[in-house]
């Protein structure tokens, strides 16, 4: 880096939970681009900024890592990238090693490892405000002198919290390359590298840090309740329960507005264009289909707002700790928690992140049950069916629709535990593996970071709507209109649907549901757009009044059919990407076929039983 006007590449590295992403958000604001690293499903976040001196800087937020001896795919990406070995990624001009100032005992070890690479680096002592509140005194000059690299204080949640760091970025390239510094004791016979790292960390702490107590008093007080084997689990259940209540209680006004906007757009386009196939495609296909999916965006965003806030607050690792005993009894390990939690967003990154599970038995069990977690793509389908068949009324203090959504999530989790337990019994395996987990300090979620996270989720959802969902909606509309001039049941889609209905009739699914299940293999949300398109085309053909999809299916289906379809979607692996990822991660067609078979088998069985019970209860 010579010219001040040249784009400098800076990488933020550090342990998980050091506030790296919050610092990244502070530095780059909304000027971020989220993608994946080439060939892997590890999130790549890059943003741009201009330093006070006018230098343009590209900032890369690397995945959190505890060590350069990578134990997971995320850590391997970070290791390779900062060493300049990652394909297609030039080595950064400067490494900003972010550390949590309240947890230097753990984070300084990684700083020493990174320093050993001999690349230009700056240490950012993040969360300095929290450290001061806890009475932790850090002699920054001594630390910088002993480490041999610049050390700056940052507070990622404060507007000017990165001022010193920005000044350091201005000076990129001015300083000479940092010399590689060997740790004292390394190379001595009988001294392990890990022990030398630990000894050097303790030396630095003794020289530069005065800490009144190792943990925060508020953390200890909260953990006494939140990690309690009984009260902790009750608190976890209560938190999750309230989240699902909020999804229904808060989203309604926004959903009504989107529905009204979709209806207005359909009517306007219908009145503007001349009669013909293009008007049919736009009004009954694109607008009805996509509008039916977009309407659930508020519910998805509310759910993710809570998940992001819980993640930021430091509560999620505690939830993993609480559930470890139950998961071990079911044949999973605590290490399965993070992949399974990721699967609540999408099973694909969840299955990929099982690479951090070293034990092959635990890894396979986690991969096979990950598709059971309720991914965000199921939410529009659940919301549609619950909205159509479950009345919007209160049960005590609670919203009935929220209760049903909560029970669907619980049913999926219990099913995953039951499947893992059966697999463990099948293998006659009684071994267990200990869980080692960092519990970060509690902190208040920062509004800006939650907002940026939500913006990313909204973009991902809308890109899916404008990509795969739009494409499948168009294709389904074409199939529903070929050949022209016949009734909808005699079109190509109608014939395929009627053929499939023989298979699905015992579950209460008619030909319309059966045809909608086929494109749903590409993405679960397509179920909603497909049903919207089928019903819109049918309504147009019958010259009937158009209504919102929920109203139409509530009128057309029995409650028993609605319940059976909900049960089907808990289990059915209606996602070709998930099955492809299972194949890639297990390198086995046998395991992929097993996962597909048992999930479809369970889906059929449970939907059948649910349908028959509902019929027996007079809900037909």
């Amino acid at each position: 880096m010579n010219a001040a006007s040249e784009l400098a590449r800076v990488a933020l590295v550090g342990n998980p939970n050091c506030g790296k992403t919050a610092l990244f958000n502070l530095l780059t604001g909304s000027r971020q681009k989220v993608a994946n690293y080439a060939g892997v499903t590890v999130e790549r976040k890059e943003g741009r900024l201009r330093t006070p001196g006018g230098r343009p800087v590209a900032v890369l937020d690397l995945p959190g890592a505890y060590s350069l001896n990578a134990a997971s795919l995320d850590e391997a990406v970070t290791r390779d990238l900062i060493r300049g070995f990652y394909p297609g990624e030039p080595a950064p001009d400067l490494l900003v090693c972010v550390v949590d100032a309240t947890n230097l005992r753990l984070h300084l070890r990684f700083v020493l490892e990174v320093r050993g690479l001999g690349r230009p680096m700056v240490v950012a002592l993040n969360m300095m405000d929290a450290a001061r509140r806890r009475g932790i005194e850090i002699d920054v000059d001594t630390l910088a002198r002993e480490l041999g690299v610049p050390v700056v204080e940052t507070v990622a949640v404060r507007r000017d919290g990165a001022r010193d760091l920005l000044a350091q970025l201005d000076a990129i390239g001015d300083a000479a390359q940092q010399p590689r510094q060997a740790l004292p004791g390394t190379g001595d016979p009988g001294v392990e590298p890990g022990a030398a790292l630990h000894a050097e960390t303790r030396r630095l702490l003794a020289l530069a840090v005065a800490m009144p107590r190792r943990t925060a008093a508020v953390d200890d007080a909260l953990d006494r309740w939140l990690l309690h084997p009984v009260f902790g689990l009750l608190a976890l259940a209560l938190v999750m329960f309230l989240v699902f209540q909020a999804v229904y209680a808060w989203a309604t006004p926004l959903m009504d507005a989107i529905e009204a906007a979709t209806g207005w757009l359909g009517a306007t386009v219908g009145a503007t264009l001349p009669a013909g196939p293009l008007r049919g495609l736009l009004v009954d296909g694109v607008i009805a289909g996509l509008g039916g999916v977009v309407v659930f965006l508020p519910q998805i965003l509310i759910l993710f707002a809570f998940i992001l806030a819980l993640e930021e607050s430091g509560y999620l690792p505690r939830a993993a700790f609480l559930l470890d005993r139950g998961m071990a009894a079911a044949g999973l390990s605590g290490r399965s928690f993070i992949p399974l939690l990721s699967s609540f967003a999408c099973a694909v990154p969840g299955i990929m992140s099982t690479r951090s599970i070293q034990d092959p038995r635990d890894r396979l069990a986690t991969i096979l049950v990950a598709p059971l977690m309720t991914c965000s793509a199921r939410l529009p389908v659940y919301a549609l069916l619950i909205g159509a068949f479950i009345p919007q009324r209160a049960v005590g203090w609670f919203n009935l629709q929220g209760l049903v959504l909560f029970s669907l999530y619980v049913a999926a989790i219990l099913s995953a535990l039951a499947v893992a337990w059966v697999m463990k019994r099948w293998r006659r395996d009684r071994g267990e593996h200990p869980l080692l987990l960092e519990l970060p300090s509690y902190r208040l979620p920062h509004l800006r970071d939650v907002a940026i996270g939500l913006w990313e989720r909204a973009l991902i959802f809308l890109k899916r709507v404008g990509g795969i969902i739009l494409a499948l909606t168009i294709l389904l509309w074409v199939l529903l209109n070929v050949p022209a001039g016949v009734g909808i049941e005699d079109t190509l889609a109608g014939r395929i649907g009627r053929a499939l209905a023989v298979l699905f009739e015992p579950l209460g699914f008619d030909w319309r549901i059966s045809i909608a299940l086929i494109p749903t293999m590409a993405a679960r949300e397509v179920m909603v757009s497909s049903l919207a398109t089928v019903y819109a085309v049918a309504a147009a053909n019958d010259d009937a009044a158009s209504d919102v999809l929920r109203g139409m299916i509530a009128q057309d289906w029995s409650v028993a059919t609605g319940i059976a379809l909900l049960a089907w979607f808990i289990y059915a692996p209606q996602c070709i990407s998930t099955l492809a990822t299972i194949r890639r991660e297990t390198h086995s067609w046998k395991q992929t076929a097993f996962a597909t078979g048992y999930l479809f088998g369970l889906a059929y069985l449970v939907a059948f039983v649910a349908y028959r019970i509902a019929l027996a209860m007079g809900l037909g």
Binding site: G39, P87, L278, I468, A471, L472, I474, A522
Partner: protein, 77 residues
């Protein structure tokens, strides 16, 4: 059939063709890649006219970076 109606059918046909390509590209990337290679190879053989070779180059998928320095056929899992 009027010109307006013909135009509408043409737009619908184009949208359907584009949708097929999007679905193939997004959900079956390896199959799409193999298909593009299979279509491009005969067009790129020696002795083919210039326009055919240009079409072959356009059809051929770009090499991917897999980090294995093997050309990136994406078929090794």
């Amino acid at each position: 059939m009027s010109a307006g109606l013909l135009l509408q059918y043409a737009v619908v046909a184009l949208a359907a063709a584009a949708s097929v390509l999007v679905v193939l590209h997004k959900r079956f990337p390896n199959t799409t890649r193999r298909l593009r290679v299979a279509l491009a190879l005969p067009l790129l053989r020696a002795g083919r006219p210039g326009w055919m070779r240009a079409l072959g180059r356009w059809l051929a998928p770009a090499p991917t970076t897999t980090g294995k320095d093997c050309g990136g056929c994406d078929s090794c899992g």
